[in-house]
């Protein structure tokens, strides 16, 4: 019953939360750059505006990929907040992300195809660390279920400090923050234009933006999991990690994919796999 409530709560409040976080993010970013920044509600204005626009497409079949991207992102989030199997959540997230990548290919312009390839590289870069996190959570709490992990009396971070560092690292990719915003650059006037989303406009783009908002709560949820039943600490950690990501976003230039791939795999190997090995030796 509680799990269904949580699922419904996410369904309705998830994008609101995501939007507020994104709005705050834009505000803080602006302040870091010595600007005033847009209103906190700006992400909502943007989305509502996009719905007021005309729908243009390159191919008529292209928007279906976006619908399914959104559908599976929501599905992923609902699974997560219903306390389901963490591996299932990750697989569902991968499926969603693949629809997004295929949307990019379907766009058919050089910018969107390169964006799709880069998004794929990003997925390949963060996937190992995210899966290792699930393995680590299981080793720490003996359960893959999100519901069990967030009620476990022992904080997984005590056993998984390396894993925490690794997840924080790949979170930069998942939140599409510089230096790893390779596939859909946030700012105009770049070699990639808008990457995957280049050929999507109006309502379809709005759906992509909504999907991004839906992503935020459960991505932060990954951080939250590390603190088990100590929810207060979990919230504080989420806040700290997100602020750190904003700081990184504003202090690093975009890297090449080569660096991203190698660095994330090495980080996953050292902090993630290292942590697993140490745990299994102890355990």
């Amino acid at each position: 019953m509680v799990s269904i409530m949580m699922g419904l709560l996410y369904l309705f409040l998830g994008p609101l939360f995501g939007g507020l976080v994104t709005g705050l993010d834009r505000r803080i970013t602006a302040r870091m750059q010595g600007r005033f920044g847009p209103p906190i509600l700006q992400p909502f204005y943007d989305i509502l505006k996009l719905f007021e626009k005309e729908q243009i497409v390159v191919r008529r079949s292209q928007n279906v990929y976006v619908y399914f991207y959104l559908l599976f992102i929501v599905f992923t989030g609902v699974l997560f907040f219903m306390g389901e199997d963490l591996l299932l959540v990750i697989f569902s997230l991968t499926l969603a992300a693949i629809f997004f990548v295929l949307a990019g290919y379907k766009g058919g312009s050089p910018f969107s195809i390169i964006g799709a390839e880069r998004e794929l590289l990003q997925m390949m870069a963060y996937e190992p660390m995210v899966l290792m996190m699930a393995v680590g959570m299981y080793m720490a709490t003996k359960s893959f279920y999100v519901g069990d992990i967030v009620t476990s009396p022992m904080m997984p971070i005590l056993l998984l400090p390396g894993m925490f560092i690794g997840v924080t690292y790949v979170l930069t990719i998942k939140l599409r923050k510089s230096p790893f915003d390779l596939s859909t650059s946030h700012h105009g006037h770049q070699e990639l234009v808008k990457g995957i989303t280049t050929e999507y406009s109006g309502p379809a783009l709005a759906l992509i933006e909504i999907a991004h908002l839906y992503e935020v709560p459960f991505i932060m949820g990954f951080v939250f999991l590390f603190f088990g039943s100590n929810w207060l600490l979990g919230f504080v950690a989420c806040l700290a990690v997100y602020l750190l990501e904003i700081l990184i976003d504003n202090t690093f230039a975009r890297t090449k994919w080569q660096f991203m791939l190698v660095a994330s795999w090495v980080v996953a190997a050292v902090f993630g796999f290292g942590n697993i090995i140490i745990l299994s030796l102890l355990g």
Binding site: R35, D46, K49, K53, E54, H189, K194, G202
Partner: protein, 147 residues
């Protein structure tokens, strides 16, 4: 009042500008003027943009480009000609390959004269453009209701 007014996204194209007006356009995005306060984002992609800021006069080389960018913007959309060259061709008006202002190729909604146009004037132009944008949106909705 529509949400178009709260989040006007722009695309900026330099037709044959001397870069004077371009620099002023970009200046609007800097901390000094910070148009992102009003939700303005420089998208760099016509398919995401609502307002087309164009600097410099149009010549034979870029007619097609200006048309392409304009066609690839979703309705409702507004064109703002920035600087005297974009408005009328300016001092280049008599050149052998220059057609004149942007309105020779695509319909222009707001003219921002100046050489170079000052950031305040540009922001003012964008605000005017937002008004036109809303009008066009109302028309579009009516059109949709009729058809």
């Amino acid at each position: 009042m529509t949400y178009l007014a709260k989040s006007p996204w722009i695309i900026h194209y330099d037709a044959t500008s001397c870069n004077g007006c371009d620099i002023e356009v970009l200046a609007c995005l800097t901390p000094m003027y910070d148009v992102e306060r009003f939700g303005v984002i420089n998208t760099g992609n016509p398919k995401h943009a609502d307002i087309f800021l164009i600097t410099g006069s149009v010549n034979e080389q870029n007619i097609k480009v200006v048309e392409n960018i304009y066609n690839q913007m979703p309705n409702p959309k507004v064109v703002v000609a920035i600087g005297i060259c974009a408005t009328s061709g300016g001092i280049f008006r008599e050149c052998y390959n220059v057609l004149g202002g942007v309105d020779k190729v695509i319909p222009v909604d707001v003219y921002v004269p100046g050489c170079a146009a000052r950031p305040e004037a540009i922001i003012d132009g964008v605000v005017k453009a937002i008004g036109v944008l809303e009008q066009k949106h109302t028309q579009m909705k009516k059109g949709a209701a009729v058809s």
